[in-house]
Amino acid sequence: MSKTGHIVRSFDDDLQELRNSIVEMGGLAEAQLSNAIRALIERDSSLAEETITADAIVDKMEQDIDALAIRMLALRNPVADDLRLVISALKIASLLERVADYAANLAKRVIALNMAPVIRPVSALPRMGELVRHMIDDILTAFVHADVELAFDVWRRDQEVDFLYDSMFRELLTYMMEDPRSITSCTHLIFMSKNIERIGDHMTNIAEIIIYQITGQAPMEKRPKGDNTSITMINNPFSGQSKE
């Protein structure tokens, strides 16, 4: 972000509007996630319904940001940091829209879960949710203040989410083996933890975009990852056959 304004002042107004829209959309996506998690904890189906409905607002915001960015590309011919901001806004808006989609999906599964008795592993999910919600919060702060360090911090933090997801995945598999009646609820919970884990991934993507936007370069180092669920096998305690 340059300290001096453009000679054409309305260009500055456009850029500011773009920044504000991203922050507003991010805030809404964050609220959607919070509401979905709260609906889970409080078994509140009507809050879950509200969350699902509110997804349309986020979708609309993405369209508005796209329109503004396209207009600026056509009319202002932005270059350098201005160009990087416009392109970043386009990409970030698309990722935030996905975040809100995941939140809406969480809310749908809350409604399904509420039709079955409470199961224990539910408690780990809010912890994951809180961690990821905090990432959204920080990434928006990094965007507003052009804070590369904070963006890098969020970028690295995703590993914790991966670890939590990994342990939750194992816990849920074990649970299902112990009690096949829990399979429906546990499957929903696996998808829900996967959704939250994906939101975390999207935050690292946004962090990379912000780092590029500020510095003009994508991060060089390799991002630490902790999700091993794709290669996880749990031995079936009933079959006695080991596959490991």
């Binding site: 340059s2 001096t4 304004g5 000679i7 054409v8 270059v79 350098a80 510095t215 003009g216 370069q217």
Partner: protein
Amino acid sequence: MQMIAEIVNQEIQVNKAIISAKEVSVFYREKQALNSVSLDIPENQITALIGPSGCGKSTFLRCLNRMNDTVEGCRVEGLITVEGQDIYAPSVDEVLLRARVGMVFQKPNPFPKSIYENVAYGPRIHGLARNKDELDDIVLTSLEKAGLLNEVRDRLNSTGTSLSGGQQQRLCIARALAVQPDIILMDEPCSALDPIATAKVEELIEELRENYTIIIVTHSMQQAARISQKTAFFHLGEIVEVGDTDQLFTSPKDSRTQGYITGRFG
């Protein structure tokens, strides 16, 4: 692996500097217009010089074929070589230099003569043709290279000034090409042209790159971004930043470059 080696070699080939300026300073009497500018111009590429009015970019351009010699009170310091040869050495004939390093100006300036004569003039005084057939050949080839032949084939004897602005500018480019230069300097060649004529000249410049090295001064940053491979940003008589055009317009390193190209105050 061999392919990679070839690509690397090609890049080295493409990037070989044909013009090299080292610590060039220019004074117009007491006033210093350029302050210790160093720049390498790669062969067969288009190098754009950008910067606000009075930043020294045109002055620099005019040093490259000693056009500043004609300005009274102008003094050039430093070293400028074209293919290794110091062009300010006493032994250098500046007329021959200007044939090798041609120039196209902001306003199309055809001679008040026929289209044919405009192009034939240079080769004739430089003795490039032994007879009329050879001269005809040079004129037609130059007009063709300048993308003008099809438009003027039937009226080579009409005056150059009867052409449209864009055609006149391409005629001036044909005139520069006729004396078989290696390098063409262009000082805002499109600033007096409409967008269509500009596009045609830009397309021509792009084609010429294959056989010529082109250095262009332009006030249009979009134009610099569109056609050049390398861009140098001048400010207050110095080069602030020089780099690959795509890098300079996406991620400039210097805040002054950023301020200028994005349309903010310095």
